[in-house]
């Protein structure tokens, strides 16, 4: 009994130091006051949360509603959501293809999926920018083929950010889906056809419901890091269209408003947690 607990000690310690402690600190900082050049003053204040929704007039302290930050939160959710859907549309057929290869070939295909990720994320993101920018190869090709007159603005917009998110997180969709399809009993598919299901009916009534745990896992693994992503919007969005990650980053760098940054982080964590709980609840309800 004692020994069993000892086995858990390393992971519990890791969780304590690298998760519980930072999360508690973040939450704590979010209810303190900002110091002038970064850091916090040990003086309780809800100002950071007020600032999320309202703008305080510098002269008479009146509050007016300000949707700017909510918009950024909303945009982050939408961007991450779109990236998740795209990853799903690309990842599902890919994972299916890999999982149905002969036994010896699967690991080769899986390795190919991970090859781009041997390169650092920053380098990859910059590479994507170089490809998409006005003087980049895509625009060059389009123009020399005479398909477009001037360069299409592919970089520095939501499209570029979306592309960045998809290319960063695609393997996190493919790998859990692969694992789910790998376990899938293909005689169920034959049973479906035998029982008069068409191709599409088989997909909707048998394949997708059975792959659901994999779909959920992949979805969360893309959506959660996507919503807080920093590099893609920073580099591919050119700092013009902010996502939550950039806003948080700014609070700890230029603006030096640690409590506000901490409050934003806390909101992000809460949104994520609520989403997770909802998904888990639904899954549990459908199990029963």
């Amino acid at each position: 009994m004692k020994l069993h607990r000892l086995l858990l000690a390393p992971s519990l310690g890791t969780i304590l130091i690298f998760m519980a402690l930072p999360i508690s600190l973040t939450t704590l900082y979010s209810v303190l006051s900002p110091a002038q050049y970064g850091g916090v003053i040990w003086q309780p204040s809800a100002e950071a949360y007020v600032r999320l929704l309202f703008e305080r007039d510098i002269f008479d302290d009146t509050l007016t509603f300000n949707a700017d930050y909510l918009q950024i939160l909303g945009r982050s959710v939408v961007q991450a959501g779109l990236a998740t859907i795209l990853c799903l549309l690309i990842g599902l057929p890919t994972a299916w293809f890999i999982a149905t290869r002969p036994a010896g070939k699967k690991s080769l295909w899986l390795m190919l999926v991970t090859v781009p990720y041997w390169v650092n994320l920053l380098v990859r993101t910059i590479a994507l920018l170089l490809i998409l920018r006005d003087e980049g190869p895509v625009n060059g090709a389009l123009q020399s083929l005479g398909l477009t007159d001037g360069p299409l603005s592919l970089a520095y917009n939501n499209f570029a950010i979306g592309l960045g998110l998809v290319s960063s997180f695609l393997p996190f969709m493919i790998l859990p889906l692969y694992a789910a399809i790998e376990r899938f009993d293909f005689s169920l598919l034959e049973a479906a056809y035998d029982l008069h299901a068409s191709r599409w009916q088989a997909v909707w009534s048998v394949i997708l419901p059975i792959l659901r745990p994999g779909l959920i896992a992949g979805g969360l693994l893309v959506f959660i890091p996507g919503i807080g992503s920093y590099l893609a919007p920073d580099i591919l969005g050119g700092g013009k269209t902010l996502m939550l990650g950039n806003l948080i980053g700014m609070q700890f760098q230029g603006s030096r408003n640690w409590p506000f940054g901490a409050a934003l982080s806390t909101v992000l964590m809460t949104v994520t947690l609520v989403a997770l709980i909802l998904v888990a609840r639904r899954a549990a309800r459908e199990e029963a």
């Binding site: 034959e190 049973a191 035998d194 008069h196 299901a197 009916q201 009534s205 419901p209 659901r212």
Partner: protein, 358 residues
């Protein structure tokens, strides 16, 4: 040429895996005519092509040669969902995410039947297989036998003209298997659906079938009623596979077949031809060598006495191959028991010895 009474006709059906010299013929020229309302069994050892044949009929796989017609219609190119055939899979293949009721109603839902009709059909099917009260369970909450019933109900729900069953009883324990045998047989009689039943268990095949096709190496070795297959095996393979038999090499001599250590058995044939004598172990009486009459076989020596509860079996040596004799336990009257070392003779029942060319 097609008769209305023919549920499924297979003509020169072949299925090969691989190409060229390494090609493996899983099915090699199968000609079969399965009659409507028949309980038809494909019986054969593992790897003889039973599942391959079922998959061709169901449409999961395409033949490399030959033709399949179902109720007179050539089904080449017809996908499984369009064939009037349903399958009970060897490992059931129940949909794990659906309840018993949803599994049973699956086919009608796919066919777009109205809700009320689906509900009525599910209720009827669930009652037919005796699963009332379990409609809302999921497959992982069922025992093996219950899963088997769900698979049966699910396959029967869309009203197939032919039901294919791939070793449906092999995953059940002996006792349940016995009971399901009678239930399946009764179900087939009630519904009047043509059953094509696959098994490698000869008892199962003999007990349930109207007709049996014994398969080996991708070919049909013999087709016939259970009693025909058992009493008159067409070749050594069938004789040995069904019920076990003593296969004794012999040579045709002037008075009959001469078998080493046994004597002469009445038989006609080309003098000098090698033949195989087929004798079922239970159609031999065993007696002390001192009582040996002229037409009895032997003498032989008992080398093993095997007690099996309802029967007693002896292994005898002295002939070209070891012989087996089985006595029903009730038929043993004290004096008839023997122990290893005893010298005995054998008295075959009239007509018990079949002579096959070898």
């Amino acid at each position: 040429m097609q008769h209305a009474s023919e549920a499924c006709q297979l003509i020169g059906l072949g299925r090969s895996y691989g190409r060229g010299a390494s090609a493996h013929r899983a099915l090699d020229g199968i000609d079969l005519s399965i009659r409507a309302n028949e309980f038809f069994t494909l019986l054969g050892p593992s790897g003889c092509g039973k599942t391959t044949l079922l998959r061709l009929i169901a449409g999961f796989d395409q033949p490399t040669s030959g033709q399949i017609s179902i109720f007179g219609e050539d089904v080449a190119g017809l996908p499984p969902e369009d064939r009037p055939v349903n399958t009970v899979f060897q490992h059931y293949a129940l949909f794990p995410h659906l309840t018993v009721a949803q599994n049973v109603g699956f086919a009608l839902r796919m066919l777009g039947s109205p809700q009320s009709e689906i509900a009525a059909s599910v209720a009827r099917m669930v009652a037919l297989v005796g699963l009332e009260g379990m409609e809302h369970r999921r497959p992982d909450q069922l025992s093996g036998g219950q899963k088997q019933r769900v698979a049966l109900a699910r396959a029967l729900a869309p009203g197939p003209k032919i039901l294919l069953l791939d070793e449906p009883l092999s995953a059940l324990d002996a006792k349940l298997r016995q009971r399901m045998r009678s239930e399946l047989k009764a179900l087939q009689r009630e519904t009047g659906i043509t059953f094509v039943f696959v098994t490698h268990d000869q008892d199962e095949a003999l007990a349930m079938s109207d007709r049996i096709a014994v398969m080996q190496g991708g070919r049909v070795q013999q087709l016939g009623r259970p009693d025909e297959i058992y009493e008159a095996p067409a070749n050594r393979f069938v004789a040995d596979f069904i019920g076990g038999a003593n296969l004794i090499p012999a040579r045709i001599g002037s008075q009959g077949a001469e078998a080493e250590g046994l004597g002469v058995i009445p038989a006609t044939g080309e003098p000098g031809a090698a033949v195989t004598l087929v004798i079922r172990p239970e159609r031999l009486a065993i007696l002390p060598a001192t009582q040996k009459a002229k037409d009895d076989l032997g003498p032989l020596t008992v080398v093993e006495r095997i007690y099996m509860g309802n029967e007693l079996s002896f292994r005898l040596e002295g002939a070209a191959v070891p012989l087996h004799v089985t006595l029903p336990r009730g038929g043993l009257r004290g004096a008839l028991d023997f122990s290893p070392g005893d010298r005995v003779a054998l008295r075959p029942e009239a007509g018990a010895i079949r002579v096959l060319a070898s």
